[in-house]
């Protein structure tokens, strides 16, 4: 099977879906699901069978080619599976919305573009698919109208900045080495000067950093996540943002020649330390900002940024110190994060669907009774997010901590740990305000979420647990990627791994946890039963108190909120806003050149002529 055929199916499917949509919405839904599932099947079949590079198109004298190797398979399977799940999830979620044809075809298009990115064997196809992904994303983010428009603009402007930087970088590579095939560049770059390598790293770092929302470049993310249609938010948070991680890995590979051989150039190493520290920063600050959010999707979005920090920390640190444990942790965390964040967004979306789009944490509560499946999804999701043992997040975070401590970087490790505390606090708020506590009166008769929503949630929930107990399944693939990138191999078992830096065995954990929970269960079972007391017959000085007044999920972290708020202003966002304002203003000022007075315009003409002559006179007075 040729990779271009896969892309053809993916892109063709997107177009077909649109056309089918004009015929009948049922047909369209079926086609969308069928195509996305077909892609999953194709990639599942391709496991362990790398596809050689194949040229598919000549473009301006460049040979565009595709390939499938361990890294791209890893990302591709994640993309197609999450894509398929969110398409299935959309079936009900989007049913009564307008312009659904557009929505589905764009969803498939985004998936196809992401597949294109990971299958690209040369940087120009990479760039082409990258840009297609960017504008498809823009269209999807703007789909919800109103506030989504601003979010979309923020996204696309930052994304454009990133992509023009990338374009400059790519073409600079092309001019220097006269090739754009990734393997060839990798071999050529080994001979380049360290300064040039640093330039390449910085410019691609900006491009991928924006996409992956590393701290000073993150500001597009919260609004976009919050305002995009929820099933798409799942894709956006799960894989699309993580294309930045893929890009960073690719760059790691491109400069990988240096890792295997004489060791890293000091510039590269320094750059990656900077990256690691930025990653650490990205972990800490957004996590605490997340705590202050009252909007469920905003809260998760800030976590999306924070978790991205772990990946960057892992990869940056891994490359800086040639530590394959950290690198593998970073990659694995990408996958894990994708699984649980998609799960979380889906559970929010399920609630949104039933409550009519409400996602304000202060007005929800107690939904566990109405929507048990969504609750389980959210519970497992936040467990993964925190990194509780036996969920997938634990393994990857553990790998990163371990590597940091063993390599002697306690501050980085500490930052990562702080991030986890913040995560615990904030996701507890999330879970509590949404599912626990008191059920508001108006939500008393909510139905449980439909099957097409429960199915993806169930699948992902089981994945969270599965990868938490059997991390060896994905780690084998990741190990291949690490060796492909030129790192030393890890010793992976189905239950975990052993290495000189530390050993993980989830079977022991499982055993321990089973024992502990058995003990706890027995204790609770033996303990006295609690009595349910109606809250609303409390005495309130003779006055009747409406039931909703007792809604105690409002202002959950009020004291902490007031304490932290002054420190956790989103300075970066303010900076960008100010910058945008300044640009706007200066553009307004530039516009004043065109005064509307012909006399002035003619003056410009004469001025131009006179300055030409004057300059020439001054240059050659002899």
């Amino acid at each position: 099977m040729k990779p271009q055929l896969i892309l053809l199916i993916a892109f063709g499917g997107a177009f077909l879906t649109y056309i089918f949509g004009k015929i009948s919405s049922k047909l369209r839904d079926g086609a969308a699901v069928a195509i996305s599932l077909a892609l999953v099947a194709i990639f599942a079949c391709l496991y362990g069978r790398p596809l050689q590079e194949s040229f598919y198109w000549g473009f301006l004298g460049l040979n565009l080619s595709l390939r499938l190797d361990a890294l791209s398979w890893f990302f591709a399977i994640a993309i197609v599976s999450l894509g398929a799940l969110s398409i299935i999830f959309s079936l009900r979620y989007m049913r009564d919305r307008e312009r659904t044809d557009f929505y589905y075809s764009m969803m498939l298009m985004v998936n196809a573009a992401m597949l294109g990115i990971v299958l690209s064997n040369d940087l120009i196809s990479f760039y082409i698919f990258w840009e297609m992904m960017s504008w498809c994303t823009f269209l999807l983010i703007s789909y919800n109208q109103h506030r989504a428009l601003d979010a979309g603009m923020k996204y696309i402007i930052m994304s454009m900045i990133g992509s023009v930087a990338m374009l400059a970088g790519i073409l600079s590579l092309y001019v220097s080495f006269d090739t754009l095939l990734i393997p060839q560049i990798a071999s050529s770059l080994a001979t380049a000067s360290p300064g040039y390598v640093l330039f390449v790293l910085v410019i691609f770092g900006i491009a991928f950093g924006i996409k992956n929302a590393i701290m000073p470049l993150h500001t597009w993310l919260p609004d976009s996540y919050a305002e995009a249609p929820s099933p798409f938010t799942a894709v956006l948070s799960g894989m699309l943002t993580r294309m930045g991680v893929y890009g960073l890995l690719l760059i790691t590979y491109v400069i990988g020649g240096m890792i295997g051989g004489t060791g890293l150039g000091s510039n590269v190493s320094k750059f990656n330390y900077v990256l690691a520290w930025l990653g650490a920063l990205t972990i800490v600050v957004p996590t605490f900002i997340a705590m202050l959010q009252n909007d469920a999707k905003q809260l998760l979005a800030w976590h999306g940024i924070g978790q991205g920090g772990y990946m960057v920390l892992g990869i940056g640190f891994g490359v800086a110190t040639a530590n394959s444990l950290a690198l593998a942790g970073g990659i694995f965390h990408t996958l894990n994060h994708a699984i649980y964040i998609v799960l979380l967004f889906m559970s929010v979306a399920a609630v949104q669907y039933r409550t009519g789009g409400v996602r304000d944490l202060n007005s929800l509560g107690g939904l566990v009774a109405r929507m048990p499946v969504a609750f389980v999804g959210a519970l497992l999701g936040i467990s993964g997010l925190i990194g509780l043992p036996l969920t997938n997040g634990f393994v990857s975070k553990w790998m990163i901590y371990k590597a940091l401590i063993i390599e002697g970087h306690p501050f980085l490790a500490f930052a990562a740990l702080i991030g986890t505390w913040g995560t615990i606090l904030s996701v507890y708020k999330f879970l509590h305000n949404m599912y626990l506590g008191q059920l508001p009166e108006k939500y008393k008769h909510l139905e449980k979420s439909p099957f097409s929503m429960q199915l993806p949630i169930a699948v992902l929930s089981s994945a969270v647990v599965l990868f938490g107990i059997l991390p060896g399944i994905p780690l084998r693939v990741i190990n291949k990627i690490c060796t492909w990138l030129g790192f030393s191999s890890l010793d992976v078992t189905i239950w975990g791994f052993t290495s000189e830096t530390g050993t993980l065995n989830t079977i022991n954990l499982l055993a321990a946890i089973v024992v502990v929970s058995a003990v706890v269960w027995v204790l609770f079972h033996r303990a006295a039963k609690s009595v349910v007391v109606a809250q609303d017959d409390n005495y309130a000085a003779g006055a009747y108190v409406p039931r909703d007044k007792y809604h105690y999920t409002a202002g959950f972290y009020e004291p902490l909120f007031t304490m932290l708020r002054p420190y956790l202003r989103d300075v970066v966002d303010e900076f960008y806003t100010a910058l945008a304002g300044a640009v706007r203003k200066s553009c307004g000022a530039v516009r004043r050149i065109y005064t509307g007075d012909v006399g002035n315009y003619v003056t410009y003409i004469i001025l131009f002529l006179a300055s030409l002559i004057l300059v020439q006179l001054r240059w050659r007075p002899w």
């Binding site: 301006l60 400059a168 553009c587 012909v598 315009y601 131009f608 050659r620």
Partner: protein, 494 residues
């Protein structure tokens, strides 16, 4: 025997024919322009194989080249005349329905003459003849801008006319000086006689000619007329002005700079560097002005300024890659900008307002038009897989290949301009699709006759974007012709 002179004379003849025909039938006039333009496309295509081998040089009247006006139909000339004819054809089909008010036969005459002027400019090999065709181009555009007769149109036309007239006077002084210095008007002959472009007596005519042509080519300080004229003209006219007129001006500058004055990047003068800086300045000013603009046509006009800046920058790099990129950008901008103006024409016709906010919700009412607008806008920003992408790619590559710090900085500026451009175009796309607007606009598509050109433009933009090879072959020989001064002189003078 196909002769390039037909490209100019036949449309001219048809334009002269229109008054007589419109005596017979008032409606006949609007079906006339497509005929000679089709003819021009066919002739251009027939000439193409010969022109690719060797520029077709024909003289008027059959005298030796230096002693009469001659037309040089090299790859550049054929390329541009084909583009002019093609875009003109599509726009004239569009105008069949769009132009309804006033004495429409006059509109069609002027339109055809404008295209004739543009074709003449790109084909002629004589500098005074260039001036004459430029005047044809300019004067017909003054009249067309004022065609609607509304307040804005008249005001813009007056301003355009004054600046244009000053510009062409400067051009004429420059030509006079050149004639005084070299005693000939043939471009190749002047080029042969001219040794160093940087000596003062030669520099002054060059400065005059560039200022004169620059007014039409909308280089930064000389483009005060452009936003007014392009925004207040009827939409098909805006499409032609933005898509053809200014490009032709830029071509004329390139021809003068490269062929007559023989500037090259390694020559002692750093005038080309200056032009490159000017190009980026133009780009940034254009894009910055467009950013805060609320009038959609004005925004497109400013964006044209920006694109001209980019093309000028590419041409000023004077390497073959860069010129290919510049010409590519020229073609893609022509297609995209013409498309944008055509789509906006009917959108504003339906909403009765030029305000961007009035376009809210048009995406639902006129889906195909809005889709076409989106594709045009994406192409202008340079997003794949549309035609603007390969051109931008080539230009950036050429700039990076110069290995000069100045060009790195300049291309940084160009990319910044791209971001600004993206900002305002994406905003419009959002307004089109994702803003609820005026619901009492009828859900009504553009009439079919206007939809045909729009769809063809879209197909071309996507086609060229995916398969740039379609034109790169022609472009690279065009670039070679534009840069190779010695061959040009040899071909013309024998």
């Amino acid at each position: 025997m196909v002769n390039p002179v037909l490209l100019i004379v036949v449309p001219l003849g048809f334009a002269f024919l229109i008054p007589i025909l419109s005596l017979l039938s008032k409606k006949a006039a609007k079906y006339i322009p497509p005929i000679p333009l089709c003819f021009n496309i066919v002739v251009s295509l027939l000439l193409l194989p010969r022109a690719l081998e060797n520029p077709v040089v024909v003289s008027i009247g059959g005298w030796q080249p230096a002693f009469s006006i001659n037309l040089v139909a090299g790859p550049v000339g054929i390329l541009l005349s084909a583009v002019v004819a093609f875009v003109g054809l599509l726009v004239s089909i569009y105008a069949v329905d769009y132009i309804r008010e006033g004495a429409t036969d006059r509109y069609h005459m002027l339109f055809l003459l404008l295209l004739t002027g543009a074709t003449g400019v790109v084909l002629t090999g004589d500098i005074f003849n260039l001036f004459v065709f430029f005047e044809i181009l300019c004067i017909s555009s003054y009249a067309l801008v004022a065609y609607a007769g509304d307040k804005a149109g008249i005001e813009s036309a007056v301003k355009y006319l004054i600046q244009g007239a000053v510009g062409s006077s400067l051009l004429l002084i420059g030509i006079g000086l050149l004639y005084g210095l070299f005693g000939t008007l043939n471009m190749a002959d002047i080029a042969k006689a001219l040794q160093s472009p940087s000596s003062l007596p030669v520099f002054v005519p060059m400065a005059l000619i560039i200022s004169g042509l620059g007014v039409e080519a909308a280089i930064f300080p000389l483009n005060g007329w452009l936003p007014d004229a392009h925004s207040s003209a009827p939409s098909p006219v805006s499409a032609i002005l933005s898509g053809i007129a200014i490009e032709v001006g830029l071509y004329a500058i390139a021809r003068v700079v490269f062929t007559i004055f023989g500037l090259s990047i390694d020559s002692t003068s750093n005038f080309l560097m200056f032009l490159a800086v000017l190009g980026i300045l133009t780009l940034l000013v254009g894009e910055m002005c467009a950013l805060g603009q609320n009038n959609i046509k004005r925004m497109l006009a400013y964006s044209s300024i920006g694109q001209m800046g980019l093309i000028l920058f590419a041409l000023a790099m004077a390497s073959s890659y860069a010129v290919v990129g510049g010409l590519f950008q020229l073609v893609s901008h022509t297609l995209a900008k013409a498309l944008l103006f055509l789509t906006v024409g009917y959108m504003t016709y339906r909403t009765h307002s030029l305000d961007v906010s009035a376009l809210a919700g048009i995406g639902k009412r006129m889906p195909i038009t809005s889709l076409a607008f989106t594709i045009g806008a994406f192409s202008l920003i340079g997003l794949p897989p549309f035609a603007g992408f390969p051109s931008k790619l080539l230009i950036v590559r050429a700039a990076l290949a110069t290995k000069e710090c100045l060009f790195f900085v300049l291309i940084g500026g160009a990319l910044l301009g791209t971001v600004i451009e993206a900002a305002y175009f994406f905003r419009i796309v959002q307004v089109l699709y994702f803003k609820d607007g005026n619901t009492n606009i009828a859900r009504k598509q553009v009439p079919a006759v206007a939809l045909i050109p729009i769809v063809i433009f879209v197909i071309l933009i996507v086609g060229i974007g995916i398969y740039p090879k379609f034109i790169t072959g022609l472009l690279s020989s065009a670039a070679a012709e534009l840069l190779n001064r010695v061959d040009y002189i040899r071909n013309v003078l024998g």
